[in-house]
Symmetry: C2
Subunit: 126 residues, 2 copies
């Protein structure tokens, strides 16, 4: 946790509609790709940065911070000098599994070139 | 269809990852709210604009254009002078049902204040 929260991670913002609440957290082009990468075994900043979509490092740093604030991921220090962290999904983050699955199924139906769920991990390997 | 497409609506852009493909279409804070509203029976620009999150009209116009380009919605002229359109989900748009459902379930678990699926329609009524 960053300690800089200005709002609760369990508080609805724009409205009490559950779709709006979740979009306040996940409604952008990058956040779910970071979740995907951690889910498939990438844990360090460098590993996440090297992923196939080439996320800009400032966006990656911002999304990791937000994901921690929202308690979707936690970090662990794995190197002291310089300080380096590894990122892991919390239960809340892992619970996005069914969301990811439904997105993949829709995508596989309407984007014929998209890879199947079983091929995503191989696609992400450097 | 607008006739202004510069890319195919079934083509992956950033990568062949199905999560990335779907985020290229739905990865923002507003698009799924427009889909939600049309799903729950709002069809005119005015009805969509009056929804609880108060979408800015320029963003609404942009999202309706994109949703048509992506073939998630279609429009029908319902008034000639001045021209007014009503928007409806296509099969591709309706197929987002399971995605919305999984988002609502996650949201209901982690945002205690969010309304249940059965209450969304009532919440959207003016």
């Amino acid at each position: 946790m960053t300690g800089d929260n200005t709002y609760s991670s369990t508080e609805c913002k724009r409205s009490r509609c559950p779709v709006a609440c979740v979009l306040d957290v996940l409604g952008d082009k990058w956040t779910l790709l970071v979740v995907r990468d951690i889910f498939f075994g990438k844990h360090t900043f460098k590993e996440l940065q090297d992923s196939v979509e080439r996320i800009p490092s400032n966006i990656l740093a911002d999304r990791l911070k937000r994901l921690q604030e929202q308690e979707l991921i936690r970090r662990e220090l794995y190197q002291e000098r310089p300080k380096r962290y590894a990122y892991y999904l919390t239960e809340k983050g892992k619970d996005l599994g069914p969301v990811m699955k439904s997105l993949v199924e829709w995508s596989n139906k309407y984007f014929p070139d998209s890879v199947r769920m079983s091929e995503i991990e191989a696609m992400l390997k450097p």
